[in-house]
Subunit: 250 residues, 2 copies
DNA sequence: TCCCCATTACGTACGCAAGACACAATGGGT
DNA sequence: ACCCATTGTGTCTTGCGTACGTAATGGGGA
C-alpha cells in the first residue's frame, strides 16, 4: 500500500500546517426512537472505533477546529457545540495509532509528537439526527450512529471523554437548551419527556412534566396534532425562538 | 542586560523540555476581610499584571503543570484546583511579551511559537490566604493579592479568563465545597455568609442562611466562641470531613 | 458600675413550585 | 359499537425558601 502523502510530510517534520501536540475530539449526540445516539468512526486497519476528531491548523482557532470536525463528519453548521474539558494526561493511548500508520505504509519517527504526547480539547455537540449527512474522514472506513448503551469500547481515552461529556450533559440539562437541539422542529410532549428521562436516567410524572414545560414558557403548542399513532393524537410543539442556541459565538 | 539562558535556548528551538504552543494559567482565589482576592504577578519591564501561568513540560501531565504553577507561586499542595476552560483563539495577545523579551536581551525569531500562537488551559484554585507563601516567578518582579474589584487590567486575554473563572465559580457555588477551601479551619457564621454574599453579589437573610447551612449538615458547630468582637460572641464552626475536597484526583 | 445597643441565636408564618394522584377526552383496533 | 391505551387537564399535599419577630449576649460609653 502506498504511503499517504500527508502522513509522509507530517512524519518528516515538514508539515507546518498543524499545531503539534494538540487535537480536538467531538462527542456528537443525537436522539432517535427514545434512545441517545453517539456518532463514532471506525479506523482503517485498526477496525476499532473512536470519537470524531482532528488536529488544529496553524491560524485556526481551537473552536474553529471543532466546528470543522463537526461540519466535515455531519455536514452541519451552527449547531449546539460546547467545549467541556481538555484531556492532557501523559499516556492517552496514542501508540494505538502505530499499527494503522504502518498498514498505510508510513512510519512516524519514534519521537514524533503524533505518537508521543497529544493534548486533546474535547467538545460535545447536540444535533438532529435527521439532518445529518454522515461522512467518514481520511483515516476511517465507516461513520455511523451507535446507541449510547450499546457502543463498543473506544480507542485511546475516548471512553473517558464520552463519560465526562455525558456527566456534563446531565448536570446542565435544565440550563442549556438541550432538547431544542436534539429534537426536530416539531415534536410531541411524550417525545420530549422520553428525552429527559433518557438523559437523566429516571422516570418522570407525565402530568407534572407537561405542566413544568408549559409554565416555563420555552415551548409553544401548535394547532397541529400528530396522527397515525394507535391512540389519542398528541399535540405538536416547537421551541420558542429564545430556546434555540446555536454555534459557539452566541 | 544579559540574555536569560533559558530564553536563549528556547528561541534557538533547542528546548525540548517544553510542549510548544501550550500553556496553563491559574486564577487563584482567596478570601479575606469580606473580600474575594485574586493572586496576580507583575511582569518585569512590562510593569503590567497577569495571572500566574507556565508552560507544560514534556512528560508532564496537563494537571501536573497547573499543580506545579500553584505550588511554585503559593507553596501550597493538594488544594482545590479545577480545570475550567481551554482558551484557543488566534490572537490572545502573545505579542505583548515582545518588549519584555527585548528588555531581557533575548530576541525570539518572529515565527517562534511563543509569540505566534499559544493555547492556554485555564484552572481556578481556592486557597486559604493565611496559608499562602507568595513567590514570583522568573519573569515577574512582584506577586501579590488583589482585591477582585480593584484589580488592574490584565495582560493577554487574562481578563476574559478571570471573568469566566468567576462565572464558573458562581454557577457551582452550592455544589462544590467552595467555602471549605477559601476559609480557615474555624470560622464564624457571619464570615461564611459574607463569603456567599460576595461571590453571589447579593445579600442574604442572616437567619435563613444559618438554617440552610445547618440543615444541610456540611458544617459542624464547635463549643468555642469567637471573642474580642464588640458584640455578642458568635460560635465557631468547622466543615464536616466530607466537605473538604482537595487536589485534582479525589 | 450600669445601661445601651449592635450583633448573634432561635422560632414562626406565608407562598410558590414540585410531586402524587384522579378524571375526562380521543382515536385506532377488534 | 365497544374497548382501551394514551393524551390533556385539574386538584390536593408536601416541602423548601423567604420574610420577619423575639430573646440572649457582651463590649463600649456615660
Amino acid at each position: 500500500m502506498n504511503a499517504d502523502p500527508l502522513l509522509t510530510r507530517l512524519f518528516a517534520g515538514q508539515d507546518r500546517q498543524l499545531v503539534p501536540h494538540l487535537s480536538v475530539d467531538c462527542a456528537i449526540f443525537g436522539f432517535h426512537e427514545g434512545q441517545i445516539k453517539l456518532l463514532l468512526l471506525r479506523w482503517r486497519h485498526l477496525r476499532a472505533w473512536s470519537l470524531p476528531g482532528g488536529f488544529v491548523r496553524t491560524g485556526e482557532p481551537l473552536d474553529g477546529a471543532a466546528e470543522r470536525v463537526l461540519r466535515e463528519r455531519t455536514g452541519l453548521d451552527r449547531v449546539y457545540l460546547r467545549q467541556f474539558h481538555a484531556f492532557g494526561g501523559i499516556d492517552r493511548g496514542e501508540d494505538a495509532l502505530l499499527p494503522a500508520f504502518k498498514a498505510m505504509g508510513a512510519k512516524p519517527p519514534p519521537d514524533h509528537w503524533i505518537v508521543s504526547r497529544i493534548v486533546s480539547v474535547a467538545y460535545f455537540a447536540l444535533v438532529d439526527v435527521a439532518k445529518v449527512a454522515l461522512r467518514p474522514d481520511a483515516f476511517s472506513e465507516e461513520c455511523r450512529w451507535w446507541d449510547l448503551n450499546e457502543r463498543p469500547p473506544l480507542l485511546f481515552d475516548h471512553d473517558e471523554i464520552t463519560d465526562l461529556a455525558l456527566e456534563t450533559l446531565r448536570a446542565q440539562l435544565d440550563y442549556l437548551p438541550l432538547a431544542a437541539n436534539l429534537l426536530p422542529e416539531k415534536f410531541t410532549m411524550p417525545e420530549l419527556q422520553r428525552l429527559y428521562e433518557t438523559v437523566l436516567g429516571t422516570s418522570l410524572d407525565r402530568r407534572n412534566f407537561q405542566k413544568r414545560m408549559l409554565d416555563q414558557g420555552s415551548i409553544v403548542r401548535l394547532k397541529e396534532r400528530k396522527t397515525g399513532g394507535a391512540h389519542r393524537s398528541p399535540f405538536l410543539y416547537r421551541f420558542a425562538r429564545s430556546a434555540r442556541s446555536r454555534g459557539l459565538t452566541p
